[in-house]
């Protein structure tokens, strides 16, 4: 490799570099005006382009926001209609159930009142008065006999008849009073029954009033949504976010259940479809286990749809009731079969595990290690129980899944709008930077050629003032 003296003027020497720098500075000085113009123009163009892009993104964000709002309100309207519809159905059921009883209750009340009235009327009967001739007889009985035994005998008879009549009258009076008291006593259960009937009516009416209040509240919300009010949009948005996070939490738990289910049936599946068959890098037995779980979840979705608990498939909701009920039974039967299969597989898993442990022990020469403990049936039963229950538990995944799907639309919209807004703000900021970047680049340009500029300034100053010293000027003026 040839070596050069750094001052010799060869390639890479200091002299060469100084020459290149000087020539560059001169060239830059000579092209100063057009270069400044080009820099300013470029920065203005970039500024304008970035501002335009920012405005466009803001508009897109605005459109997306409107779209989100429409979607949110539509979803809210649909949900609100659904709730109101359900409330009206409940109201109708309550009216049919409670108000249908009203005529019966009324008849009962009327009957009770009639009986009370009768009892009351009977209780007010005047007891029989003692006969009017009693005083006359008493006076006759009081006449002295004057020693005549016949008269005395007659008077005694009259007195006895009088006492007997008084006793009889008193007895009748007591009987009448007792009867009156009995009638009054008979009124008590009728009063109570009447009170119960009135309480039942009050309860029924109260229940209806409560439902009416709920419907009123739902109707208010529905009206808010129909009016496209900001309050309704905010409430729906907040509700949607809460639903999203709750559904994610529940789905995570459900995935945990599915994983346990998978491990429960993956090993015994090898006994059915072979343990050495592969698709790509995955065992067919694993895939088969996964497919079973997926089929169970699908059946669960269809079952929930048929029961009209979820509304992911409008086709199923729109089916005639007879067909829908058939579908319920069919999906339930398939689920029952799959749950039974899983319970069987869980049992097989335990057998295989025992067999494998026994083989390993034999291969290790550890013959004494293989034993079956008395409580092993608990593990087997627990596995079988889990295998049977988990498919039915997975059915309920449909509910959080529906909520997740519906709320995901809103969440994605909010996230998208946020990203667009951030992008728009970023573009606007970059545009602002570009507008000032022109001045900065021009200043940097002039800093590079400060020497010719300074000389130019000096020459101009000499030309204006002769041999006078140039006036002091700021660095910015030099540049």
């Amino acid at each position: 490799m040839p070596s050069y003296d750094i001052f010799s003027g060869g390639p890479g020497s200091v002299m060469t570099w100084i020459t290149v720098v000087l020539l560059t500075v001169v060239a830059l000085y000579l092209t100063r005006a057009p270069s400044h113009g080009a820099i300013q123009s470029l920065c203005r163009v970039l500024h304008a382009a970035l501002r335009m892009a920012s405005v466009s993104v803001f508009r897109a964000e605005s459109r997306l926001g409107e779209r989100n709002r429409e979607v949110l309100l539509a979803a809210g309207r649909e949900a609100s209609e659904h709730i109101i519809e359900r409330e009206f159905e409940r109201m109708q059921a309550a009216v049919n159930r409670d108000l249908a009883e009203c005529p019966t209750l009324q008849r009962h009340a009327h009957e009770q009142l009639k009986r009370i009235e009768e009892d009351h009327a009977q209780s007010t009967d005047v007891p029989p008065t003692p006969p009017g001739w009693a005083h006359a007889v008493e006076a006759v009985a009081a006449i002295p006999s004057k020693g005549d035994p016949m008269v005395a005998n007659i008077l005694d008879k009259i007195r006895e008849a009088l006492v007997e009549a008084q006793d009889k009258a008193r007895e009748e009076y007591r009987t009448a009073t007792r009867n009156r008291h009995q009638h009054l006593k008979n009124m008590l259960p009728h009063w109570r029954k009447l009170g119960q009937s009135l309480a039942q009516m009050d309860k029924n009416v109260g229940s209806l009033l409560h439902r009416a209040k709920v419907i009123d509240r739902q109707m208010d919300e529905y009206e808010n949504i129909l009016q496209n009010s900001d309050r309704a949009a905010r409430m729906l948005s907040s509700s949607s976010l809460v639903q999203f996070f709750v559904s994610v939490l529940v789905l995570t738990i459900a995935i945990g259940g599915a994983v346990i289910n998978f491990h429960l049936i993956a090993r015994p599946m090898a006994e059915m479809v072979g343990g050495n068959n592969w698709i790509g890098t995955f065992k067919i037995s694993d895939i088969a286990a996964l497919v079973i779980i997926m089929v169970e979840i699908s059946m669960g979705l269809f079952l929930m749809e048929s029961l009209r608990i979820t509304r992911l498939f409008p086709v199923i909701s729109a089916l005639p009731d007879v067909m829908r009920v058939r579908m319920i039974w069919i999906t339930f039967a398939i689920l029952l079969c799959l749950a039974s299969v899983e319970a069987g597989l869980a049992y097989l898993r335990e057998i295989l595990l025992q067999d494998e442990l026994a083989t390993s022990a034999v291969l290790r020469g550890d013959k004494g290690a293989v034993f079956t403990s008395g409580f092993m049936w608990i593990t087997t039963a627990a596995q079988m129980g889990m295998g049977f229950i988990l498919p039915f538990a997975l059915v309920f995944v449909a509910i959080p899944l529906e909520t997740f799907v519906h709320s995901l639309r809103t969440v994605l919209g909010i996230v998208g709008a946020g990203l667009l807004r951030a992008l728009a703000v970023g573009l606007r900021m970059l545009g602002g930077v570009m507008s000032h970047m022109g001045s900065v680049l021009v200043d940097i340009y002039d800093m590079v050629i400060f020497l010719p500029l300074w000389l130019e300034r000096r020459v101009k100053a000499h030309g204006l003032t002769g041999r006078d010293e140039p006036a002091a000027f700021s660095a910015r003026e030099v540049l």
Binding site: A258, V259, F262, R267, A270, E271, G274, G275, N276, N277, W278, I279, G280, T281, F282, D286, I287, L290, I351, L352, D355, E356, A358, T359, S360, V362, L363, R364, G365
Partner: protein
């Protein structure tokens, strides 16, 4: 969880994957047991190694145990061979039968006069290639001191592309103690021979840590 996630992730392209040529995922293990006079006493250890390997093999894997004797390039030297059934329960039964067969052999074995390791390796490569397993492992339970009978030609390259050759329990001979270079040279020669044939070479002498014998 991770495995399930992976399966879910590839569920969509499974259809396409199924159309491709299936890639063999099973393993083939061929174990050579030295039965020469100097090494017969070590066969009990070999039996334990075989049992340990049996516990690690899965349904669909192939396993063969062969003896190294005067002329090892022969099917007659295969003591036991099996390709495990796809069903785990059947595979367990086959493992037990395999163990019994090897146990019988170890009880009845007679020492061989000569030691033809190269012939055994050739037989192993032929067997495993025929099985076309996804992973091919040849385990040599020997002191690696080859002693050929006159007339046996073994100066040939070994076709071991894609094979892993593991030398187990390479014991030191009396002469090795006198001149350790012999032992080291013996190991180096075999390593060179295997690697020149395209195979990978490993030596495991600590049988207490048999978990090092990874078949994956």
């Amino acid at each position: 969880m991770k495995r399930l996630g992976l399966i879910l992730a590839v569920l969509a392209p499974l259809g396409l994957a199924a159309c491709d040529e299936p890639v063999a995922q099973n393993r083939g293990v061929y174990m050579l047991m030295d039965t020469s006079g100097t090494y017969t006493d070590e066969l009990r250890k070999a039996q334990q190694i075989i049992n340990a390997m049996l516990t690690r093999l899965d349904p669909g894997d192939s396993f063969a145990v062969a003896r190294i004797d005067t002329g090892s390039f022969s099917e007659k030297d295969i003591v036991a061979k099996v390709t495990f059934d796809d069903r785990p329960s059947m595979a367990n039964k086959e493992k037990r039968q395999f163990r019994d067969t090897v146990g019988q052999f170890v009880k009845m074995v007679k020492p061989a006069r000569y030691t033809d390791i190269t012939g055994g390796i050739l037989q192993a490569s032929e067997y495993l290639n025929e099985k076309n397993t996804g992973k091919k492992v040849i385990v040599i339970f020997s002191d690696l001191a080859e002693d050929l009978q006159k007339g046996y030609m073994r100066d040939i390259s070994l076709p071991l592309d894609g094979f892993e050759v593991i030398a187990l329990n390479v014991t030191k001979l009396r002469s090795d103690n006198m001149d350790p270079r012999e032992y080291l040279n013996r190991l180096t020669d075999w390593q060179r021979k295997v690697e020149s044939g395209g195979g990978r070479w490993r030596v495991i002498n600590d049988l207490d840590r048999i978990e090092k014998l990874s078949l994956y």
